[in-house]
Amino acid sequence: MIDPFRFEFFVNGVLVATLAGALCGLTGVFITLRGMSYLGHGLSHSVFGGFAAASLVQVDYYLAAGVWGVASALVINRVARSRGIGSDAAIGVVTTASFALGVALLTVFGSRGPSFDAALFGSIVGVRTLDVVVVAGVLVLAVVAVLTRYRALLFTTFDPEVAAASGIAVGRVDVLLMCVLSLAILATLTIIGVTLVAAALVVPAVVARMLARTFALLLPVAALVGAGTGFVGMNLSYHVDVPSGTTIVLVGAVVFAVVYAGTARYHH
């Protein structure tokens, strides 16, 4: 069998999958604890609209999809809070409309960037050095945000009302988290795909919750689980010739099942 690490695209792919796994694991901890897993799912669909628009207006995919993703996240945040519509309904409206617009644009105008299938299910092919740099940059940004705003993020996630009463600008922390989430989805999308990003956000966080006893440990454990499943899933993708998003998520599901069974026995 040919050693896949001889190919630059594969090395890049593994690097992106590993870093993106860590990024999603870290971000996913806050997303799942805030009951916002559906937001991750929705935002990945929303970013797809930006992906399609990038082809149309001929700007870089990251720029268009990034602006689109952050804008959708902020619109959802605003709609959900201001009119008593509820976040699940706001997410449903904003993100599906954005996804549908993306599909319409791609159907009519076609794509200059990754293919339609690659955007939906993730692809190992054509991962550029730029993709590695982007995902590494976003990961560094997320780590810095989590470290410097750790207590505020924890307090507003656990008990937002008392956090606000203690002088924490809860709204600003929410916006920060929304931005980090949008960027994480954006950086992950080409490898994992629109339809499966939510799993990359949720699975490592849930596995870490079964393993870690303290919140301080939860974050590195989730990042490690995410990175591990990304690395193994990407290698598997090459060998079994299945889209990378699919194998990464399936590896995550197996890890979840094993840890679930193991910790259930331990708890008994």
Binding site: L147, F158, E161
Partner: protein, 262 residues
């Protein structure tokens, strides 16, 4: 009218004048005039939906009045203990981590300073929960959960402590412990205002009672407030008040009649 950020009258911590608060048109409280002074220990009583939690939030500052003025002493530190039912107890956080949330992060990295660690250990020791510092919050008993939130509130060194139903769902002995703790804090100079449904177990034992039915029906010492006419206006039910060993005891004879036992 809007909130005027001026100081309250000399010697008060918070002052509410003509305060209304509505959630989408329905007034939760209206026409509330109230002062909270240093070192007071007060129970707010009223039926469900009488605006007790809204009143606490107005005092706390997380809600703004839709009418009227709230004046707070400049720099006033307020501690808040929420209702236990509002918390996600499956949240993966330890007691120590939860208490430390109250301290604002002063450095770019999140690890607590030595002084912070000592401070948390001290407050946990003081509240008798040092032995469960490393436990996850869901592994605590109701009394320990209440003490943990009390510890978190105390870490802010509050001059005013607000507690929402601090004894709801607790057994008798734990309720006594919590009340004893609150009494001690109050004697050391912390003003305390708590909401409760428990007239006989708590309200009649505290120096001041506020009867709330969306507006303040009456306030003052139990002997002047715990009266059948005031209780009827507050709860919309006929309650009798007996004197026993110098204490007021509220009797709900109507409930007995309804179930046919008296």
């Amino acid at each position: 009218m809007r909130t005027i950020p001026s100081s309250p009258t000399e010697g008060t911590l918070v002052e509410l004048s003509g305060v209304d608060h509505s959630y989408g048109g329905t007034p939760a409280v209206y026409g509330v005039d109230l002062t909270v002074t240093p070192e007071e220990l007060t129970a707010v009583v009223g039926p469900s939906g009488s605006g007790k939690t809204t009143l606490l939030r107005l005092l706390l500052g997380t809600l703004r009045p839709t009418r009227g003025v709230v004046r707070r002493r400049p720099g006033l530190a307020v501690g808040y203990v929420p209702q236990l039912e509002t918390i996600n107890w499956d949240f993966p956080v330890t007691v120590r981590e939860c208490v430390l949330m109250a301290r604002r992060q002063s450095r770019p990295w999140p690890w607590p300073t030595r002084a912070e660690r000592l401070e948390v250990a001290e407050v946990l020791e003081r509240l008798g929960i040092a032995s469960v510092a490393g436990r996850r919050v869901r592994e605590l008993s109701g009394g320990q959960q209440q003490r943990m939130f009390l510890a978190r509130a105390l870490l802010r060194r509050p001059a005013l402590l607000l507690l929402d139903e601090p004894t709801s769902g607790l057994d008798l002995a734990t309720r006594h412990d919590i009340l004893h703790l609150l009494g001690e804090l109050n004697r050391r100079g912390t003003a305390i205002l708590l909401t409760t449904h428990d007239l006989n177990g708590i309200a009649t034992h505290l120096p001041r009672v506020i009867c709330l039915a969306r507006t303040v029906v009456a306030h003052g010492p139990p002997e002047s407030v715990i009266r059948p006419d005031i209780l009827e206006r507050t709860f919309g039910a006929r309650l009798e008040v007996l004197e026993h060993l110098g204490l007021r005891v509220v009797v709900d004879r109507e409930a007995g009649r309804r179930v046919g036992v008296s």
